[in-house]
């Protein structure tokens, strides 16, 4: 006897199921509880993890920029100049060091950072920008207008 209808009740889910799910479980190996062992729970959480990883790359750049800025602000404060005046003074002198470099210099090259703050102070004083009081010490920074000359 041949039973032709019974065979229709068999639900075949596809031969590649194991490999398809293995890709998800590999990413979920370090999750907690059922998230690493049960497919339908794991797949949801793996998707969330991947979305967070994608978004995190941009956030990491922003966080690093913030950290660098905090460090440069701390360095500026040690030398009695505001961060905004510092950046403005350097930009006007055509010194194009970015936040990362300035933070590295503030940490590792304190004398070079001090000279940068001196240059910025001199320039803000010469240009009449707010925030810098003419100090006797600033007379010792000799630039004699060389910061203003443009070639």
């Amino acid at each position: 006897m041949v039973f032709t209808t019974v065979i229709n009740f068999v639900r075949a889910r596809g031969p590649d199921e194991i490999w398809r799910k293995r890709r998800i479980f590999k990413l979920a190996a370090h999750f907690i509880g059922r998230r690493r062992n049960c497919y339908s729970i794991a797949v949801r959480n793996v998707h969330r993890a991947l979305v967070y990883a994608t978004k995190g790359r941009k956030l990491k750049r922003e966080d690093m920029a913030n950290l660098w800025e905090t460090r440069v602000r701390a360095g500026c404060e040690q030398h009695n100049i505001s961060y905004e005046s510092f950046r403005e003074g350097l930009a006007r002198c055509n010194i194009l060091l970015n936040r990362r470099t300035l933070a590295d210099l503030a940490c590792w090259e304190p004398y070079s950072f001090k000279s940068l703050t001196d240059i910025a102070k001199r320039r803000t004083l010469d240009d009449g920008l707010a925030g810098i009081n003419a100090d006797k010490y600033l007379d010792r920074i000799i630039t004699r207008g060389s910061l203003n000359t443009e070639k």
Partner: protein, 201 residues
Amino acid sequence: MALFLKRFCSQFKNLQLNTSNTLLRNIQAISLIPSIQNYSNTPTPFEVVDTEEDNKAKNQILNKVNSLVADKTHGRLFAVVHVTGKQFKITDGDVIVIEGYWPPDVGDKITLDKVLMAGSADFTLIGRPIVEKGLVRVQATVIEKTLSHTKTHFRKKRRKQYMRINFYRVPQTYLRINEISFQDEINNPKEVRGLETAIFS
């Protein structure tokens, strides 16, 4: 004027010097901002400049630095170099990673020309924006050209049946900084300098 700033701009030679010994010069503090009308009675700030003393001080500093450079007694040098839009603070023996498309191949000896700042423990040269070409020589070798680890760009909008996944690997170049050195005297440019690395076709 007992003490002077040890660090100075590399464009020091652009000073406008007068022939007279003493010079009374107005600082263009107010004229730089023409839109501001100054009605106060305070006098325009000025400073008395003695060119002889200025030159003496300048030459004193330059001689000290040049002697260090000539004898190579400055010690370890650091440089802030600009490559493919990013700035790196490097010294001898460093390995830096350059992400993205960069033609130089493995084993190529590279000279990094855009030096924003270079210095030692005793002095620094601050470039506006770069230090004079050919003055600081930064030599590097390409040691490896690989692709980064596979990064996943995964986007999903919940409940909207929108899910996209892309895998990408960014080409990376590893650069070993061989040496950083000063080629020449500070503030004394040779006629033909910095053209050793230029390619004439």
